[in-house]
């Protein structure tokens, strides 16, 4: 390496301002510039930080070894940029092009520097390409990681908020289920419901499935499990909110719900629960 690019790193460091200017010019001239997401000043600060940390950690020894531990600070800055861009709403393409536009700037400078020595120019171009390509890949990795974190957080939030257990009346709990009921959600729903039954000492639980888009044999099995578990605890479970389409599917699939109390609406389930608790709802007659 030393005989081919002894001063490539040094040259680049010397030309730092030229590279930055060129890079910024390229970026600002690009049609895909997103001024709505990032102002030009912020973009410049971001680019300057990345270039500085890159040039500081670059030397003639590690420039050809993209896996070198010396680049850890660079990778760190890249990850930061990538994640913040993912959150700001940049597309992966835009973030990728941002990194690759650095390559253009570097190559243009190197080309000017080494235009008298084609052999060395080729080596330098290959080295730089390899280096920036590896940075590009890192950026994509962290970009995807950033997006995945967002997705994971949202999934957690959905599971958290989608299973509220509501106390409708003394001794009556309701659990509206919204969204598809898979095994992991059934587990959460069941645990929440049973815990609430213990905490409130309720003897009736109403499982409202009006928000469940489809009931297949697996979902039905999960419902039956929940009902059975509630019964084991010593409480009665009513399934309400069964839409006509769901009734059709259940019968077509041959699922036996005959030993479970089912009601068409939450209101009728509540009325049934009142009946079980021997409660009566009356209209008060106002005395004149």
């Amino acid at each position: 390496m030393s005989n081919q690019s002894p001063d490539l790193a040094k040259t680049l460091r010397k030309k730092r301002n030229d590279i930055l200017e060129l890079w910024m010019k390229n970026q600002l001239a690009d049609v895909s510039l997103r001024e709505d997401l990032l102002t030009n000043e912020e973009l410049r600060a971001q680019s300057e930080e990345l270039l500085d940390v890159l040039l500081q950690n670059l030397n003639e020894r590690n420039i050809a070894e993209v896996e070198s531990a010396d680049f850890e600070p660079v990778v760190e800055v890249l990850s930061g940029i990538s994640i913040s861009r993912a959150k700001q709403g940049f597309t992966p393409r835009e973030t990728g092009l941002y990194i690759f536009s650095l390559k253009d700037a570097l190559l243009t400078v190197v080309q000017q520097e080494l235009k008298d020595d084609p052999a060395q120019l080729v080596t330098a171009v290959l080295t730089i390409s390899k280096l920036v390509d590896s940075f590009g890949v890192t950026t994509f990795e962290t970009f995807i990681k950033g997006r995945e974190e967002v997705i994971l957080r949202q999934t957690d939030e959905i599971t958290e908020i989608s299973t509220p257990v509501i106390q409708l009346w003394d001794n009556i709990l309701a659990l509206p289920i919204i969204g598809t009921l898979d095994s992991s959600r059934t587990q959460v729903v069941m645990e929440n419901l049973l815990q609430q039954i213990v905490d409130t000492g309720s003897s009736i639980a109403i499982l409202d499935i009006s928000g469940v888009p489809a009931v297949d044999s697996l979902v039905a099995q999960h419902l039956i499990k929940t009902v059975s578990a509630t019964r084991l605890m010593g409480a009665e479970c009513i399934i309400s909110g069964i839409r006509p389409e769901i009734a059709q599917t259940v019968v077509h699939l041959g699922i036996d719900l005959s030993n479970i109390v089912t009601k068409a609406s939450l209101a009728s389930a509540l009325r049934y629960a009142f009946g079980m608790l021997q409660l009566d709802v009356k209209k008060t007659i106002r005395e004149k």
Binding site: L194, Q195, I197, V198, G201, S203, K225, G234, M276, Q278
Partner: protein
Amino acid sequence: MDKIPILRMGHFLLVTIQTDLYDRLAMSLEADLVQMVSKTNAKGVLIDISAQSIVDSFMGRIIGNIASMCKILDAETVVVGMQPAVAITLIELGLELKGVHTALNVEKGMELLQTKIILPTEDTSDDDDYSA
């Protein structure tokens, strides 16, 4: 070997399992309880398992067995105070404990037993049948 006490309360038998129910203990409980039901001519058996945090298929079967045996001896069985984790485990094991009545706590279990059983001597005073 430990023994699980079986308390007599009028026409009912009260069993509170406070220790870990290992297999042999469960077997001896089953034998003792059936003996006791037959000796005292009890009409109802109430088993409190609120202290049990773990359960296996054997335990589930023993409880089911006790209920069936008591049924033959003309006594109703109520299992009370089952922990959520235990209920989920039993369901996952496919044990629905058919023929066993359940209640949330001892108080509700007693009420349930009283409504289920028509006592021979005294009048059951409140003839509500809300769990029927």
